[in-house]
Amino acid sequence: MGGLLSSSIARKVAMALSALFLIFFLIIHLAVNLTSLFSESVYNDLSHFMGTNPLVQFGLQPVLIFGVVFHFVMGFILELKNKKSRNVKYIKFNGAANASWMSRNMAISGGVILIFIVIHFIDFWIPELNIKFVQGDMSGMENGEYRYFAHLQHKFMNPVKVGIYVVAFVLLALHLLHGFQSAFQSIGFNNKYSKFVKNLGVIYSIVIPLGFIVIALYHYFNH
């Protein structure tokens, strides 16, 4: 990868910017999903809007997919490069003495999240694409009413799947616990507000994944 992203710092900043974009996206995603706890009709209306609005579908969605793919590909490239930078390993390496587990294992937590995203896409995204763009049914209707809420409940009937979701969200929390403040450090943000950003990062990293876990469990126990 040459040109604009040839330098280590440029890659680091690109990684951080894609992370901040995904961090913002998660807030929107959670906000929409949370409505399913309170109102079936609001969740259905929002889902239909997000699923059929051309700006969302053909403007924001490709940007989101690019952001996700870029973050994973760049993370993978950097991980390979970093592994090569130490060609002979230490016999004894006490990584826990100077850095958190989260910061040392971003590739592991990121890998689990990648597997989760594949499962999530197979679960929700691919069936949606099939209905809308293969079958050509843009109505969002099934048996005379919006299908989104019913589909959501149906997806969370399987306890194994709910378990996978919960584990993935715990790993997401661990990924974010390092990644949130790390993204700010990478773009050069280190000043008197850094402590606030770190604390905000901890709150975000717990609240957002917990929100998704609550939604998965709620629909499992209330279908």
Partner: protein, 246 residues
């Protein structure tokens, strides 16, 4: 105290190398770590064996020459000190101590525990300087007003002795703490502003060329740095780099 030492032995750059076990006895807790190594080497010489090669010079934490990865950490388990300032009282009678060279592709082993750290020299040569006339017409540095805040931050960055512990401790073998300290010490002062853009770009380019890994902000370097160089310097370098590139 009596200790078991597991030490990396490697005859030369091309040798594969291996850990070799040694026993040392009657080690005083008041000895420095390097003095303990001296005692071991004297016993090896007495037995007609090749002594263990390790770097050292000032032995007072200033020169940045000593290295050693001790029990999984550069400069050993204590904080804010170099290996020469590490004392045997840190260890207990009967302990097993692992002693390895600093590991990084950019720091190849020369012999035993000695590694080639000239990659740092080349990074420094790429931009770690200011161009001033030293022909006798040099302006008195004190004639240029500098805020106390910036002067302090610059001096903190300049405390880096270039030992390479940041690289050795980093899981990615990243040299960003070292490079950022060298960039920061000039970027914070008016004398360094003129060449600031070229400096950061050239030093980062040389760092990448040397084969160091990329920083993932684990913070291990800051913890292990014998001079407690702050991660703030890396953020500053990132800002300087972005300013220079955009």
């Amino acid at each position: 105290m009596d200790l078991t030492l597991k030490i990396w032995r490697q005859k030369g750059p091309q040798d594969k190398g291996q850990m070799v076990e040694y026993k040392v006895t009657d080690i005083s807790e008041h000895m420095s770590f390097l003095e303990m190594m001296d005692v071991l080497n004297e016993s090896l010489v007495a037995k007609n064996e090749v002594p263990i090669a390790f770097d050292h010079d000032c032995r007072e934490g200033i020169c940045g020459m000593c290295s050693l990865h001790i029990n999984g950490e550069p400069h050993g388990p204590d904080r804010g000190i170099t290996t020469c300032q590490l004392h045997m009282r840190t260890f207990k009678d009967g302990d097993t101590i692992y002693i390895e060279p600093f590991r990084a592709k950019a720091f190849p082993v020369i012999k035993d525990l000695v590694v080639d750290r000239t990659a740092f020299e080349r990074i420094q040569q790429a931009g770690g300087y200011i161009s001033v006339n030293t022909s006798g017409n040099t302006q008195d540095a004190n004639a240029i007003p500098i805020s106390k805040h910036n002067a302090d931050l610059s001096m903190d960055a300049a405390a880096c002795i270039g030992c390479g512990a940041c690289v050795a401790s980093c899981k990615n073998s990243s040299a960003m703490l070292f490079v950022s300290a060298k960039v920061s010490q000039y970027a914070l002062l008016p004398q360094g502003k003129i060449e600031a853009k070229d400096r950061v770009k050239n030093m980062v380019a040389q760092m990448d060329l040397e084969g160091f890994g990329n920083c993932t902000n684990t913070g291990a370097c800051e913890v292990e740095c014998p001079k407690s160089i702050s991660l703030e310097n890396i953020a500053r370098m990132n800002r300087e780099y972005l300013k220079a590139s955009i």
